[in-house]
């Protein structure tokens, strides 16, 4: 892997502007949510598409059951469990999971649970096998923007619009701790609105770091004038380690973040053009960026750690290889 050689390996036109994307663990497909109220399954190698009609915008996608189940969370508050996702996807179960948008979901490391969060300020944890509700956690005071499971401990962390993070202990069914990422949320007095929140939230695979992404230094909320930012915390001590900003002050939001097993912090932004962004841990100066053909709205890392799928506002899905181009 050589992140400085990262390039777009393939670029597939999907449909309308894209909202979200998730890599299938086997790497053959990417599932991407779209403004056409569908999720599309896109074959990475040739761009072949399969449509999953969700009847809502979907920004929350997860994969469970060893890659055989897709779970989507829609802006209609429905959690849909899909089966046959590598052949002919069908709805196995649909749950009215939240009052208002589902903004994020996360599948537990053993794939037995899926957590969902949204505008009703509640974290709900469901069995992936039958959709039964296992836990409800309340404590957030603003829209919950994201959620992720700890890879080892029985914890999940949820983050909201106000920059509040809460760690929940699933075994105890209780709040473990709460802290705040001040830089990722702001009340804009001029426009009288809160802006920010965790657009991305993820643990490193060893569970020692937690990263959140979003927008910081907002000077005009309604024009989106602020800078993409990634904030990384130690875990479980939740000491803020560092804030990662772009070398040049790019405008926009860091729509998601991934922590590569080898250490690299990968994010991407949209707002005034798209960029894929790279940092080394502990080295807050950005080491590389890749200009994208359109504003980025989501990204995901392939299971083998070699590629990043990027959902773009121009309706394209870009597959970026973090290495030099092959001679062919």
């Amino acid at each position: 892997m050589d992140i400085t050689k990262t390039h777009i390996q393939s670029d597939w036109e999907v449909s309308k502007p894209l909202l979200s994307c998730v890599y299938h663990p086997e790497g053959e497909f990417v599932f991407t949510g779209c403004e056409d109220y569908c999720v599309w399954r896109v074959k990475v190698s040739d761009g072949t598409k399969e449509q999953l009609d969700c009847d809502a915008w979907v920004r929350a996608i997860g994969i469970a059951d060893s890659g055989n189940m897709l779970i989507t969370g829609g802006y209609d508050g429905r959690l849909i469990f899909w089966e046959g996702i590598l052949s002919t996807p069908k709805i196995r179960k649909s749950i009215e999971a939240h009052d208002g948008w589902i903004r994020a979901i996360a599948v537990s490391p053993d794939q037995s649970l899926v957590a969902s969060v949204g505008n009703d300020l509640v974290v709900r944890v469901w069995n992936t096998s039958d959709g039964a509700l296992q836990h409800e956690f309340r404590g957030h005071e603003s829209h919950i923007y994201n959620v992720c499971f700890h890879p080892i401990e029985p914890h999940l962390v949820s983050g909201d619009l106000m920059g509040q993070l809460i760690a929940w202990n699933i075994e105890k069914g209780a709040q473990e701790r709460s802290w705040k990422a001040e830089s990722l949320s702001k009340y804009d007095n001029g426009f009288r609105a809160q802006i920010g929140g965790f657009r991305g939230l993820t643990f490193r695979s060893d569970g020692q770091s937690l990263a959140g992404s979003g927008i910081t230094k907002v000077s005009n909320a309604f024009a989106g004038i602020g800078n993409p930012s990634v904030v990384v915390f130690d875990y479980p001590d939740v000491e803020k380690v560092a804030e990662y900003l772009t070398k040049e002050p790019l405008r926009g939001v860091a729509w998601n973040v991934r922590l590569h097993p080898e250490g690299t912090i990968i994010s991407g932004c949209g707002g005034s053009g798209g960029r894929l962004l790279f940092w080394k841990p502990g080295q807050t100066e950005q080491v590389h960026q890749l200009k994208l053909p359109s504003d980025m709205r989501d990204l995901d890392l392939s299971a083998d750690g070699k590629r990043v799928a990027v959902a773009l506002a121009n309706g394209h899905l870009a597959i970026c290889l973090m290495d030099e181009k092959s001679p062919s």
Binding site: A56, W57, H143, G190, F191, R192, A193, F222, A223, G252
Partner: protein, 423 residues
Amino acid sequence: MKCRYFCDSEAHSLGRRSFMQAFGAGLAVGGWGLASQAQALAQLKSDQKRMLVVFLAGGVSQLETWDPKPKTDTGGPFRAIPTSVPGIHISELLPETAKVFNRLSLIRSINSHNDDHGKGSYQMGYGRNRMPGVAYPHLGSVCAKALERPNSPLPGFLKIPGGGRGRDAAYLGPAYNSVGVNGNPLANSARHGSLSDEIDQKRHDFRRQLNDRFLLSRRSAETEVYTESFEQALGLMERRDVFDVSKESDVDQERYGKHDFGRHCLMARRLLEQDVSFVQVSHSNYDTHNENFNFHLEQMAEFDTPFSNLIRDLEDRGMMESTLVVVMSEFGRTPRINARYGRDHWGKAWSICLGGADIQPGAVIGKTNDNGTEVIDREVAPGDLFHTYLSAVGIDSSGTFDIDGRELPVADPAHGPISELIS
């Protein structure tokens, strides 16, 4: 010699500092009026009508309010919900407003040919395009003048929130300029604690005595204006509690919400109950070039409950028949969703909501195409809206004001009311 009472010059705008900054308006000055006696009589019939504007500053999205287009390429993530009027659907962001829609109507076919904030505000407030060197009175000033309550100490055109006086009455004169209030008693309206009733009365008597002597030889429009404004200000001081929203019950303050817009809607109800001719409440901000959906979710949630409670309360008090309520903006927002999940300025096809007074309830005027990019039926211009508002409160919008012998049209003669919307 005929007095030229006002020329809209700085000198005639009543510049007394402090005391008059807050409420030096509402001056009853003779010599003006509608052009004919018949018009004046017709005017009297509408005396008890009044108007409330809720101005959603920045340009609210028609797609996230009054003209949703769910499941289209421009529709965005929100759904449409039914209202209390069969067949009329509005955005799911307005569940409480949907319940009171039997008192409201929609105009879904506005084309203002403008995407600029300043020009849009002017079009909606003045019913015309702004022209260099020409000043027209604001809708609020026209209402304050044409629906004037001669015996009321309150200004006829109040803006919430705000402070001080506007300069929006043009040739109608400063009596009809707006006065800004913010839910608290007007600034500088309390008598200083060191002044007893007796001393206060004596100083006013002394002022009046001097004034009367001065007027014997130097009577002019200006002196009358100052005299009138002092007397009105005194009346206002006695009724300063009208502007104090904390006088409302705890229950009502809870119903409307403790946030600014809730307090301002309750303040508006209080002023309308005092028969103020024109009240404008503003709610900021809807200029959502970025994250249109998140911000409309936030803003409309704040709007929905106090606005619907205000409609309910006006209805319960029997005031909807005499109160025109209009929810407007300077323009709408683009059907196209930009890369930042925003919508930009859009004057080509947008909507307003209105009801009460002589507006037919439960009506929908005009139509946009399937994805809201253009008007396909009954195109309406801001000038038409201006005429419609006036007609709904019983003002002949084709009439004229007689200003120093000049007949000036009440509204832009190039436009007219939406007659099918007037009952």
